[in-house]
């Protein structure tokens, strides 16, 4: 035992004997989370084994074993939503990450008064999600949207139905999401660039390294940890991204922008099939726990 812990735990002997299991200050948080998170999770797992209609409630629920789960295998919408989730999440993380990286590298050496420019680049982060969706619904509008107007001016004559054609909708929604999330990566990368040791940069400068090789060979290797952490945080967040997609397309046209989240929501609150919705939710919880485990391990490895 080191001296400092001995001091903190005074009086030493008594403190040790009375060392409690829990601290009352943590209890309000635990109680609230037990009510709004732990209970719903346990309920969701239980309900996933029932034919449970949200409107009929407990009385109309019938135990049906793993039927909800076996239904998944042959449900084409489930597989399409899984595919859409992967495309949306992957596209957003990769796109946002690249954009954030480029902006971080470009603004790295901004000095003095010019530094506020980086602050301006954070603006999309402060814009409410509902506003982002309205904004891009307007930008992508087939008839009066600015994007088609610009394309027409450049000479691409046909107006593209960005949000109403199944082949474009998912890409358009992802683009809007990238716009709103790039600032997160800008921040993460800016912080990481700040931690590159100056001696390394100095040494490279003496070796007359070009800007390009400085970035590729030196700085990027210091950014790997931040990139990993940022990507994992945003992967989890985009897996759970409901408001943007719902308010831009409601999952349509057809099922082209239906992610797992949208599908679960529709099942629970449009068709009221809470049992089946919960089964998908549970599958997905397992997927997320796996990701979360990866996240924790990455952080541990990063700090070691």
């Amino acid at each position: 035992m080191t001296a400092s812990t001995a001091v903190r735990r005074r009086p030493a002997g008594v403190g040790r004997r009375l060392r409690r299991w829990l601290d009352w200050m943590a209890i309000p948080t635990i109680v609230i989370l037990a009510v709004v998170i732990a209970y719903p999770i346990i309920e969701a797992i239980r309900v996933s084994f029932f034919d449970y209609n949200l409107l009929a409630g407990e009385a109309g629920a019938e135990f049906n074993g793993i039927e909800n789960y076996s239904k998944l295998a042959t449900d084409p919408v489930f597989w399409e939503s899984l595919k859409n989730t992967v495309i949306f999440t992957g596209g957003s993380v990769v796109g946002g990450g690249m954009l954030g990286l480029v902006m971080a590298l470009a603004t790295e050496n901004l000095g003095g008064a010019w530094r506020w420019l980086r602050g301006v680049l954070l603006t999309p982060w402060a814009i409410p999600v509902i506003v982002v969706s309205f904004l891009f619904r307007y930008v992508f509008d087939q008839d009066s949207g600015i994007l088609n107007a610009l394309l027409a001016r450049v000479g691409v004559a046909d107006a593209v139905p960005w949000l109403t054609a199944p082949e474009w909708a998912l890409a358009s929604v992802t683009a809007a999401n990238i716009w709103s999330q790039a600032p997160f990566f800008l921040l993460i990368f800016t912080a990481a660039l700040g931690s590159v040791p100056t001696e390394v940069i100095e040494a490279a400068r003496i070796d007359r390294a070009s800007v390009w090789s400085m970035i590729v060979q030196i700085k990027l290797s210091y950014l790997r940890g931040a990139a990993l952490v940022g990507a994992l945080i945003m992967t989890i967040q985009n897996f759970n991204n409901f408001p943007l997609i719902w308010s831009m397309t409601e999952g349509g046209p057809a099922y082209s922008t239906t992610t797992l989240l949208i599908y679960v929501y529709r099942l629970a609150f449009t068709t009221y099939d809470l049992g089946y919705a919960s089964a998908i939710g549970v599958i997905w919880l397992v997927l997320l726990l796996f990701l979360a485990g990866l996240f924790v391990r990455t952080l541990r490895g990063d700090r070691a």
Binding site: R19, L121, P128
Partner: protein, 281 residues
């Protein structure tokens, strides 16, 4: 030669920054400019960069028309503010406990709390709906605020832990010698020292609540009790579908509180968020 070299080094960065600024600000400018346009101009095939007929009609319609916009606005402000204050009060206790507590389950509890941050809200909303139904809290602000805490409290607790970790313990030791209780130390010594962190955490919770669509959409059924996201969504996908001017005016007003709050505490909020995320284990 030297300056030329430096200029050459700087130019690509300058060009990239310029492009990034345009990508960032063009949609925002477009929103602002459209909100002052007449309906005809807003839906014109050939968009104008600057409103030809500058007018406040869109804004007047929001507050004087059939849309219960001021209800949405007030509901959003009230519920988000209460959620922010309540969450931060509880999160400060938890954060202090995670930071300074010496008890066996400390590590397990704090990681468990952080893990809840990653759960999909949509999976929780069905059972939560039924629970609030049983408690007769459906379609009440109390129920909604309780729902908000499910996704704001965990991270807020971690942010507060991060800010409290940064405070040296010596002052608390001194206060302890002076006979303060643990709670007294927290309220009189720690909280005053972490005001910037407290405010940023509050802004973080406020932003999250302000942005949330799922909970009010499912938990509130009376139209006038909706907050901005579901309220605007229902209004502007229904009868006012292509009222772009009105939509952009509503978007501007919805953005203002968040933009002000965000830039007021931007620096320390980012520090707190990255501390919470990076020190996560």
């Amino acid at each position: 030669m030297k300056t030329a070299n430096r200029l050459l080094r700087r130019t690509p960065a300058g060009v990239i920054i310029a492009i990034a600024l345009v990508i960032t600000l063009a949609p925002v400018y477009w929103m602002l400019s459209t909100s002052f346009k007449s309906p005809q101009e807003a839906t014109a095939q050939n968009p104008t960069l600057w409103p030809h007929e500058f007018g406040l009609a869109n804004y007047e319609k929001l507050f004087g028309g059939t849309l219960p916009f001021s209800n949405f606005l007030v509901n959003s402000i009230v519920t988000s503010l209460i959620a922010a204050v309540a969450s931060v009060a509880i999160a400060t206790l938890a954060g202090y406990s995670f930071s300074r507590g010496r008890y066996r389950l400390r590590g397990a509890v704090s990681v468990l709390v952080l893990a809840t941050q990653m759960l999909p809200l949509v999976v929780l909303i069905g059972p939560l709906y039924l629970l609030l139904l049983k408690l007769h809290l459906l379609n009440t602000f109390l129920g909604l605020i309780l729902g908000y805490t499910s996704f704001t409290l965990p991270f807020a607790a971690w942010m507060m832990k991060g800010f409290i970790d940064a405070i040296p313990t010596e002052i608390e030791e001194a206060a302890k010698v002076d006979g303060y209780s643990r709670f007294g130390i927290l309220v009189r010594v720690v909280v005053p020292m972490t005001i910037p962190g407290l405010v940023s955490t509050m802004v973080f919770v406020f932003m999250n609540a302000w942005n949330n669509l799922l909970y009010p959409l499912t938990l509130m059924s009376t139209n006038t009790k909706l907050t901005l996201p579901p309220g605007l969504l229902q209004s502007f996908t229904g009868q006012f579908k292509t009222d772009w001017g009105g939509m952009m005016a509503a978007a501007c007003i919805t953005s203002i509180p968040l933009i002000i709050a965000f830039f007021a505490v931007q620096r320390s909020m980012v520090r707190g968020m990255t501390a919470g995320a990076l020190a996560g284990t």
